[in-house]
Every structure is written in structure tokens, then in C-alpha cells.
């Protein structure tokens, strides 16, 4: 949503213009450091891409359609610095050429849609992508969350600017509710499209996904001991622009498919296959050497710890603020008097009945404690199931390999 002239008063417009100018200045420096003299053409083309992709219509239902805003996508694909530059340039051009968004509101628009969206999306994306398992699924989930959060975050930032310098007297609470409500819906669409697009890019050129550059495996030359004298065709091929060397020791039938895929998808694609696939491939090919620099599968411990921490925070801390009648059905039943004949649950007298700890008088503390204990119990049960399953799995694979 492009803010027009006259919506935000002059002092706040000037202040946001200063913020926007500072952010763009920092981004210029960062982009130059990252891209060197490539910055201008690359950022320019990416800005053209953002501009074009905003015209791509995604049908929702019954004739309505939406389009991508592109902030989160740009942040994930080209990084926060270049992303801020691209979105800012798009906004600038839209304001000057198409009169979309006022000239005096340019600072508001850039701060809101350019800086807040991009920075929030990138921060969320990086935080999640470190925690989630590697591979395209983790990447998609992280992009989904990043885009989903970045859009309402921009709406909230707009509300803040509006609260500081709005020229109309719409109550701030109402503006916040309306803006955030609408933008959560928009964010869902944005999130789905962003996740799908990032996943599509990661499948073909994972080296272009800036936000996950250090998490994917670097380009790798697959070498093996050359058993045959190199034929002219082979050596010319080696000198050519294909960095992948064909392994003559691998029979055609085994590796042909892999090489054809690698060739058609560009050399970088080879580097990008998920760890699991690479490992299984090299194991399957048998004669191919194991890649020495393969990244060890990430230990599940960190993921587990973060999950536990999040669950404990939710259960112990946030349940303070939870509604006392959280269950819609319970509330409706109570209001309509359906529950007059309700019989108490069999576990009513248990120490944790009604999500409160017995003998703890402080209601909030009690609720939080009950939550924490509940999380602990659920976790213990879940871990037990998981451990049992894992114990059984190796046994099954052994029996499977033994069977044929």
C-alpha cells in the first residue's frame, strides 16, 4: 500500500525520510562491499525483476487475484543490503514516474515497505534457516515464515508512523487492528508464493539464494582415480566450462542419469543436491569416491533444544495472557447452558486438573507451572515413542537388506 501525500504530516515525513536515507546509505555501502562493481547491474536487474513480478497475478478464487509485494523474496534471494536497495529504487521509480505513492511520503514508503519488510524478513529467515534441518524443505518453511511475519510487521511499522504523525484522527488501535488484520491475510498469500518461488530457485540455482548461501554445499569437483588414458574428447571436456569431471570408472548405466541431470541443470546444481541425496548417490554408485567435504548431517540436538525452549516459553510465559475460556466449544456451551448436565472428568481431582497446579494459590503462577509440567510430560512421552521407533528402524532395514 503506497502512502500518498498528505497522509502523514510534514515533520514525521521528514524524519522518516532521514531514516530511509540512512538505511539506503548503509545498504549502498553493504551492497558495494558484497558485490563490488557488480552492484549496479545486478541490483538494477533484480529491481526490474521485482517490478515485473509485482505484475504477475496470482488468482485466489472467484475472479479475485493478488500479487507479490516482493520485499521478503528480494531479501532472501539477494540479501538485505541489495534487497533494501532494489525495493527502494522500485518505490522511488513508482513514486516519480507512476505517481504511485506521494513524493513527500517517499520516506514513509521506503522505511515501511523497503526497510522494515526486508530487514524483518531476512532476520526471521536467517534465524529459522539455522535451526531447521538443511535442504529445500527447511528453506521453504523459513521463507514462508519470513514472508508471513514481514508483511504484518510492515503494517505495524506503518501504524507506528501513523501514530506519530497521522493527519487524521482515526484511533490508533483501530488502525492497528485493521492494518494488521488485512495484512496477515495478505501475508499468507505472500508467504505461500515466496516459499514456492524460493524453493523453485533453490532447485535450479541454489547458489543464488543469498540467505542460504553458507548453508548449501560449495561447488564440488567429483574426482576419482583415472583408470583409462584420457581420450581427447575427455580432456577437451575437462578444459571446457563444465567443472564436473566425468568419472570413467562409473559404468554408464549407473551414473548416466545423474550426469545428464547435472549437465542440463548447470554445474551449480550438482553442488546443491541435498546432503542425503549426495550421500545416497555416492553410496549407490559404489565405485565413486565418497565426497570428502560432505557436511555431516546436522545434529538434532540444537533443533530439539530450541523446540523445548519455545514450548516452555509458550507454556510457562504466554499462558499468563491466554484467555480463561480458551476453548470455543466450552465457552459456547457455558453461554448456552448446554453444560449444565456436564459431568466432571474422571481426572478432575488429579494434581493438574483444569490446567492449574493444586495447592498453588497464585493463579498465574499456577497456570504457568501446569503448562511447564504439561510440556515436560508431553515431551517425555514423545521422546519415548521416538526412541522406540528409532530402535526398531535399524532392525527393519537389516531385515530388508537380508531378505533379497
Amino acid at each position: 500500500m503506497h502512502v500518498p501525500d498528505g497522509f502523514i504530516d510534514a515533520p514525521v515525513s521528514a524524519a522518516t525520510a532521514a531514516v530511509a536515507a540512512a538505511a539506503v546509505g548503509v545498504s549502498l555501502r553493504g551492497a558495494r562491499r558484497e558485490l563490488d562493481d557488480k552492484a549496479a547491474p545486478l541490483a538494477g536487474l533484480v529491481a526490474a525483476f521485482v517490478f515485473a513480478v509485482q505484475m504477475l497475478n496470482f488468482p485466489v478464487a472467484a475472479g479475485t487475484s493478488g500479487h507479490l509485494l516482493g520485499g521478503a523474496l528480494a531479501a532472501i534471494l539477494v540479501g538485505p543490503y541489495t534487497g533494501v536497495l532494489c525495493i527502494s529504487v522500485v518505490l522511488l521509480m513508482q513514486g516519480v514516474l507512476f505517481a504511485d505513492g506521494g513524493l513527500t511520503a517517499l520516506g514513509v514508503n521506503i522505511t515501511d515497505m523497503g526497510v522494515v519488510t526486508t530487514v524483518v524478513a531476512y532476520a526471521v529467515f536467517r534465524a529459522l534457516v539455522r535451526v531447521l534441518p538443511r535442504g529445500r524443505t527447511g528453506l521453504s518453511v523459513a521463507s514462508f515464515a519470513a514472508a508471513l511475519i514481514s508483511v504484518p510487521a510492515a503494517a505495524a511499522a506503518f501504524t507506528l508512523i501513523y501514530a506519530l504523525g497521522g493527519t487524521t484522527d482515526v484511533p490508533v488501535g483501530q488502525v492497528f487492528t485493521a492494518m494488521t488484520g488485512v495484512h496477515v491475510l495478505i501475508g499468507l498469500g505472500e508467504a505461500a508464493i515466496t516459499a514456492l518461488t524460493v524453493s523453485a530457485v533453490a532447485a535450479v540455482r541454489p547458489d543464488l539464494v543469498h540467505g542460504a548461501r553458507d548453508l548449501l554445499r560449495p561447488l564440488e569437483l567429483r574426482t576419482a582415480a583415472v583408470t583409462l588414458p584420457a581420450s581427447p574428447a575427455l580432456s577437451s571436456r575437462r578444459d571446457g566450462d563444465q567443472p564436473e569431471r566425468r568419472d570413467p570408472a562409473v559404468p554408464d548405466g549407473l551414473s548416466g542419469d545423474r550426469h545428464r541431470r547435472a549437465g542440463s541443470r548447470g554445474p551449480a546444481a550438482v553442488a546443491a543436491e541435498g546432503v542425503a541425496e549426495a550421500v545416497s548417490e555416492s553410496a549407490g554408485a559404489g565405485t565413486a569416491t565418497e565426497p570428502k567435504n560432505a557436511i555431516a548431517p546436522r545434529s538434532a540436538k540444537r533443533l530439539w533444544l530450541v523446540g523445548v525452549a519455545a514450548a516452555l516459553v509458550c507454556a510457562g510465559g504466554l499462558s499468563y495472557y491466554a484467555s480463561t475460556s480458551p476453548d470455543g466449544l466450552e465457552k459456547v456451551a457455558h453461554d448456552k447452558g448446554i453444560d449444565s448436565k456436564e459431568e466432571a472428568h474422571a481426572a478432575k481431582d488429579s494434581p493438574l486438573a483444569d490446567y492449574q497446579v493444586k495447592d498453588v494459590s497464585d493463579e498465574r503462577l499456577s497456570g504457568g507451572l501446569a503448562g511447564v509440567i504439561g510440556v515436560g510430560a508431553t515431551l517425555a512421552a514423545g521422546t519415548a515413542v521416538f526412541v522406540v521407533l528409532r530402535r526398531r528402524r535399524p532392525a527393519r532395514t537389516e531385515s530388508e537388506t537380508a531378505a533379497p
Binding site: F58, L97, T168
Partner: protein, 254 residues
Amino acid sequence: MSAGHAHKLYRHARTPVHALPPHCKIAAVLAFVLTVVATPREAVWAFALYAVLIAAAAAAARIPVAFLLRRLLIEIPFVAFALLMPFVVPGEQVHVLGLSLSGPGLWGAWNVLAKGTLGVAASVVLASTTELRSLLLGLQRLRMPPLLVQIASFMIRYGDVVTDEMRRMRIARESRGFTARGVRHWGVLAKSAGALFIRSYERGERVHLAMVSRGYTGTMPVTDDTPATRTQWTYAAALPLAALAVCLTGWTLT
């Protein structure tokens, strides 16, 4: 691709407004819009005078009225928002045509509509009298960072190329029987968007290599740097100065 390639928003003519140096025009429009925004909303007559000023500038640039009005349609989303305001803003109620509307809401809607429309009209006059290339040159002369100007110029220069690429992909999809009807088809569209990104990025890399091989070191040479004369600045300043006079009168009278 770059020289003499006019964009759809530009209307070629030989008028004093077209002949002004771009940076004078940009500065004048910015000063004008700032003045409009700083005007108190109770001075209704001031906004009428601003509209007369913009109309005079458009007439001097020989921009047809229909063209100007059509370009004003861009602000329709905000008109809808402004029309909602009288209903949601709390405050004393006034009765207009049997509807109960809030007074502050009406003022707010008027404020956004008047200032927004004047801002859009000023931008339209600027964009339809200034070529893209000179617009960017003007921004550069107004001390916008050169890298930002370069990024903007690449975006403008390749915007049509990338959009055409997207159009070709759409034609390719449709000629294979694909029509996007709902959420289920987002995957295909997103894959197109991903392919478009990769193509744009790779084109950027090729463009950079082509530039490096022609001696690019990070800055673009400025070939036609003619500073504006004092007379030109005076002409350009006529619009914002007149607006400033109106604004000051508005402040003293209300």
C-alpha cells in the same frame, strides 16, 4: 535501447516546461508538494488555488486534460480509504444527506484527498514532460548517490526486457493449455517467477561482464553535464514560490 527510447508516460512536445533542465523540475515539484502538504486543511480555497497552479503548469506543457485525469486514477485505492474515514473516525456527528458522518472524519478525508490528488497531479506533470534518462540525470545532479542512480537506470532500461520475458513465459504456459484458476496453480506461477529471477540475475551478470570488457570501473561517465542557468532556475521556481505565497496566506488567514 537507451537513447531516444521514450517511455509511455512521457509526452513529447516542445514547450518551455519540457525545455527546463530536469533537476530544476524535480526540485520545483518536490518543493511544491512539500508546500501543499504543509498547508492547513481548513484553508479550502488554498487547495483550489494550487489546483489552478498545477493546471496552468499542465497547460504550459500542453498536456491534454484527459491524459492528466486518466493518470490520476492511480490513487483510487486511497480514495476508497478516504471515503471510509467519515464513518470510522469518532467525533461530533454531522448530518449530510441523511447520513450521520463525523466532522473530523470528513476533514481527514478531505485532507488526504486534496493533498494526495495535488501530489499525484504534480508528479504526472513531471513524468510527462521529462524523459526517463534526463530524469535520472536530474536526480544525479541533485546529489542522489551515483550507485543508486545507476541501479535505477538499469531497472528502467531492463524493466521492459524483463517484463517481456515474463510475457513470453506466460504465452508459453498458455500455449501448453495452462490457465491459472486458483490457489492450486500457484506452484506453476511461482516456478515461473523463480525462473524469471534466475534469468534476470544471470542477465545482470552478463551485462556486468559486457560493461567490464568496455572499461567499466564502477562509475558511469556523465556526457552531457550542462548546469542550469539562473533564468532556468527562476522559471522553475515560479510554481513553488506561488504555492508558498498561497500557503503563507493560508496560515495567516486561518
